[in-house]
């Protein structure tokens, strides 16, 4: 067996952890700038939005973690297999139960993009487990970085005290997110890949980001449609200003009140 000791390495650039970060840089920026994420970062996350997001995260992590578990012994998965520290499924189930009650399973709703995402994960798990690391990296390392900030924002925006409902964001098995990420990167870098496999992993990571972006966009669409259905579009400026004007101007209210009264009286008289 060719000993690793004699293999020369470049100072930088040949580590998977560095390459994958560079390859997904643009996608990362685009993901941050989706409508949903922008609102999120501003603290404009409503319980409805968050609950919907949880539903999609649940299905995504269910697929990801089942595929990781099945392929745990695969040489490209074993080094980065950290179920004790990273697994999210149980936390998501508890969060969903917190919001939807004991029959939460029946109330999980996901858009088409989430289905595509989970399908992709199943496919990779079945046919190309060597690419699972791309998906694990994209989700888990994100959860341990910006995800931590989103967790705090969610807690504040939804007025939640303690961990209830935001267990997804907390990693009790990880004492230092930073140190864990360092360990995870060293594990990623120890996965042996051919040149082709490496290129495929980088491509799959970009795909993973795209799938996430599509989920965010689909969720955003779902939420907008629902808001329309209750006769108030979140983005409709006119109805917003209209109702705002009504509730803030007493003169307008009185005039309208008199108008309605007269109209009702008139109609009542007219009818007879």
């Amino acid at each position: 067996m060719d000993s690793m000791q004699s293999k020369p390495r470049e100072a930088t650039g040949s580590d998977l952890s560095e390459q994958i970060k560079a390859a997904t840089k643009d996608s990362h920026v685009r993901a941050e700038n989706t409508q949903l994420m922008l609102s999120y970062q501003k603290g404009q996350i409503t319980p409805t939005q968050y609950k919907l997001l949880l539903c999609s995260l649940y299905e995504i992590y269910q697929a990801l973690e089942e595929e990781l578990d099945r392929n745990a012994a695969h040489p490209a998965v074993q080094p980065v297999y950290f179920p004790q520290e990273l697994a999210r499924l149980e936390s998501l189930e508890l969060d969903l139960e917190h919001f939807f009650g004991p029959h939460w399973r029946k109330r999980v709703t996901v858009p088409a993009a989430t289905h595509r995402y989970t399908q992709r994960l199943r496919e990779i798990g079945r046919n190309r487990p060597d690419l699972l690391v791309a998906h694990a990296y994209t989700r888990y390392l994100g959860d341990l970085s910006g995800g931590q900030v989103l967790g705090k924002i969610t807690q504040k925006s939804l007025g939640l005290s303690g961990n209830k409902g935001v267990l997804f964001f907390s990693f009790p098995g990880v004492t230092s997110p930073n140190r864990f990420k360092q360990l995870y990167r060293s594990r990623m870098n120890s996965i042996e890949l051919t040149e082709q496999q490496r290129r495929d992993v980088l491509d799959e990571a970009t795909t993973a980001f795209e799938l996430n972006i599509e989920v965010f966009d689909d969720l955003q669409k779902m939420l907008s449609i629902t808001e329309e259905a209750s006769s108030e579009k979140g983005n409709d400026a006119t109805s917003k200003t209209l109702s705002k004007t009504f509730s803030s101007s007493p003169v307008l209210q009185f005039a309208l009140g008199v108008g309605i009264t007269l109209a009702t009286v008139g109609m009542g008289v007219y009818a007879f």
Partner: protein
């Protein structure tokens, strides 16, 4: 997707509020048409036209009323401190403070809401100290008015400033930050204090907090208390609490204010004495469930530690005046698993002699069963430690009586000193005045006075023991790097530790709680086995995934602990037929024939070819000091090749203060001298190694 009208009272976002409003609007419209169609269907002229007129008038008024009654405005702005929200947006915080009679303003530079939360808590605290505070977002106020703060008597501005990204202020503090940089206002007479929220893993740790503190002083402001630096990578909450517990006594001293002006200091808990309690209901040292020590049930963790029997306890050093020990804990049948590099946490017990002396000094029967109940019924923290329990148990298992008490303890106990000089000294030591600080430094810190020493040296001080129990911090678990590999020792966890014991200036002997307690757990032939309440805390300190990967381990003194585990594991891998790479150890101690820890084992590993290189520095065996970093430099070519060309992983364990830094410097020099890098490049190189998980540290101070 459903919108429930039951959401109405809990709306926090204006948008949702409008959703609900319009839904009701829709409902009302239906109701209205319902009314009209009902009328149209009446066949007989039951109602005359006057009746119809009046009826429709009433209907019209009702409709108007339903539509336009004042909706309870949903609480839109969660930023505003609930008790204080005047309707007119006032951009002058000075005016606002004057109008609402406040003398303390706490500004927050917050991104995720933590700094804001801290600010609100400080405002709450202020009330306990007879001050009226308000939390304020610097973005909403004209910060250039800061110099006007002196218009308000006994005023103070506190800043909770978080640092983001590359040492930047948070979005809402950007304007204030720019103002600070550009202004030359005179802030004389402006009293201030700063608490910074940061994260040590970032290069510019707490840059914003540090800058704010420095700049406000430069501009002439009067610092009421030292800058607090919170570290989110460690424990931000704890840092905040320790800081503010010392901050408030200093504030009281600064303004000459008593805690509440009343005789009794503000107690958080009330004492309940249980005269007739069943001893089965009393805690005897458990951390969570009552009787968890008697009936042990996995899984074991911080709330439910496992009582591991001590199977080995031997002295490691052959000479010298220190006592280094190797201890083995039996974890058979506990289902506890661990990996080499993890930490074992133990819950120690205080010295019984000290506990008894406290009881005697305060004239109390330590075996009284008591509870301390939180006066704030809404608080999550019902008791400061598991209750009901006895004073003896509390002082032995739950409270830290060994460390030097913090300033807030002195301040709160001062009221119980009947001698005016003693009382004054106690208050002074808690203050931020230069003489007070100096006195605290010398009398408490340098002289290593613990609470018993303070009680004995201040004879007029007679606090009630329950108040003391409220003030003392919790006794913390101690963590040790596990010195064994679970592949070789699956049912045993090894510890390597040095017993802390030294004589202080006052002639008192300082004894480390955990190490002395462990030392006394001797293993006897026939005797009952001592147990240690413990659990495992997973770490990220790990051997490389591939056994063929070279490792460079640097662990002088007790820092060698995790490396015993690493080396045992590499030996096991070799036995398994795996291709094991270079395994290099750098160890250091004082004298070869005194404290060369695990000499026999290490030389055995070297002979077996598991340890491919054993480098030991004996610091005191010659005129000049030789430490591990000197040995590293000696082997610079070999090391650089391993690091740069062979993907070696570097591990450093032990003293954080000096050794870790010196080792880092040695590596920079190696990169510069052998690798030809500039200093900046070298720093960057090793930073990258850390990011990639190839340079790990398990260090303690």
């Amino acid at each position: 997707m459903e919108l429930h009208s039951s959401k109405w009272p809990s709306i926090q976002n204006g948008k949702s509020g409008r959703h609900i409003c319009s839904l009701n609007y829709v409902k009302m419209e239906d109701g209205e048409s319902q009314l009209l169609s009902d009328e149209g269907q009446t066949p007989e002229p039951l109602l005359g036209s006057l009746d119809i007129f009046i009826f429709s008038l009433i209907a019209g008024l009702l409709i108007y009323w339903f539509l336009f009654r004042k909706k309870t405005e949903p609480v839109l702005d969660f930023k505003t401190f609930p008790a204080v929200s005047p309707p007119i947006p006032e951009t002058s915080f000075i005016e606002k403070m004057k109008k609402t009679n406040r003398n303390v303003v706490v500004f927050y530079g917050s991104q995720t809401g933590t700094a804001e939360e801290f600010a609100n808590r400080l405002v709450k605290d202020a009330h306990r100290y007879g001050m009226k505070g308000m939390a304020a977002d610097p973005e909403e106020y004209d910060m250039s008015e800061l110099s006007r703060l002196k218009e308000i008597p006994n005023s103070m501005a506190v800043f909770c400033m978080a640092t983001y990204g590359e040492g930047d202020p948070t979005d809402n503090a950007q304007e204030f930050y720019d103002w600070m940089q550009g202004t030359d206002d005179d802030l004389e007479g402006v009293n201030f204090a700063v608490f910074g929220l940061g994260n040590k893993t970032y290069e510019h740790f707490n840059a914003t907090g540090k800058y704010t503190d420095k700049r406000l002083a430069e501009l002439g402001g009067k610092r009421v208390f030292d800058l607090g630096l919170g570290d989110d990578d460690s424990n931000l909450e704890e840092d905040f609490i320790s800081w503010k517990e010392q901050f408030w006594p200093a504030v009281c001293e600064f303004f000459g204010v008593e805690a509440t002006g009343e005789d009794s200091s503000i107690r958080q808990f009330e004492l309940v004495v249980h005269n007739d309690i069943n001893m089965n209901q009393v805690y005897t040292g458990e951390m969570g469930r009552l009787k968890s020590f008697q009936t042990q049930k996995p899984p074991f963790d911080s709330k439910n530690p496992f009582l591991a029997p001590v199977s080995v306890n031997r002295k490691l050093n052959k000479g010298g005046n220190r006592h280094l020990m190797h201890i083995e804990l039996d974890i058979m049948d506990s289902k506890i698993r661990y990996d080499a590099g993890d930490h074992v946490a133990v819950y120690p017990i205080n010295d019984a002699v000290v506990v008894n002396r406290i009881g005697e000094r305060l004239g109390v029967d330590l075996d009284t069963a008591i509870s301390l109940r939180n006066l704030d019924e809404e608080s999550n923290k019902k008791h400061p430690f598991p209750c009901p329990t006895t004073y003896r148990t509390a002082l032995s298992h739950y409270l830290d009586i060994n460390n030097k008490p913090r300033k807030n303890v002195l301040y709160d106990l001062a009221q119980y000193a009947s001698d005016p000089q003693e009382q004054e000294n106690m208050r002074k030591m808690a203050s931020a005045s230069p003489e007070g600080k100096a006195l605290y430094q010398s009398w408490v810190l340098d002289s290593e006075r613990n609470i018993l020493a303070i009680l004995e040296d201040l004879p007029s001080l007679n606090p009630p023991i329950d108040h003391l129990c409220e003030l003392l911090p919790r006794l913390q678990a101690r963590y040790y790097s596990i010195a064994s590999s679970s592949k070789v020792h699956p049912n045993s966890i090894h510890i390597c530790a040095v017993v802390i014991e030294y004589t202080t200036e006052t002639g008192r002997v300082y004894k480390g709680v955990a190490t002395n307690w462990l030392k006394n757990k001797e293993v006897t032939e026939n005797g009952h086995k001592h147990t240690v309440p413990m659990y495992v805390r997973r770490s990220q300190f790990r051997l490389p995934f591939k056994p063929s990967n070279p490792v460079i381990m640097i662990g002088p003194g007790t820092g060698i602990a995790p490396f015993m585990g690493f080396i045992q594991e590499r030996a096991w891998q070799k036995e398994q037929g795996k291709d094991v790479g270079e395994t290099i150890l750098y160890f250091g101690c004082r004298h070869k024939n005194e404290d060369f820890l695990y000499q026999q084992e290490l030389e055995e590993f070297e002979r077996a070819g598991v340890l491919t290189q054993l480098n030991v520095a004996f610091s005191r065996d010659q005129e000049h000091k030789i430490y591990v970093q000197h040995l590293l430099k000696k082997n610079k070519e070999q090391l650089w090749k391993l690091i740069h060309s062979n993907n070696a992983h570097i591990y450093v364990c032990g003293d954080a203060r000096n050794m870790a830094r010196d080792v880092h410097t040695a590596f920079y020099e190696i990169a510069e001298e052998v690798g030809g890098l500039t200093h900046t490049q070298a720093v960057d190189y090793f930073k990258k190694l850390m990011t990639k998980g190839r340079y790990s540290q398990d260090v303690w101070s």
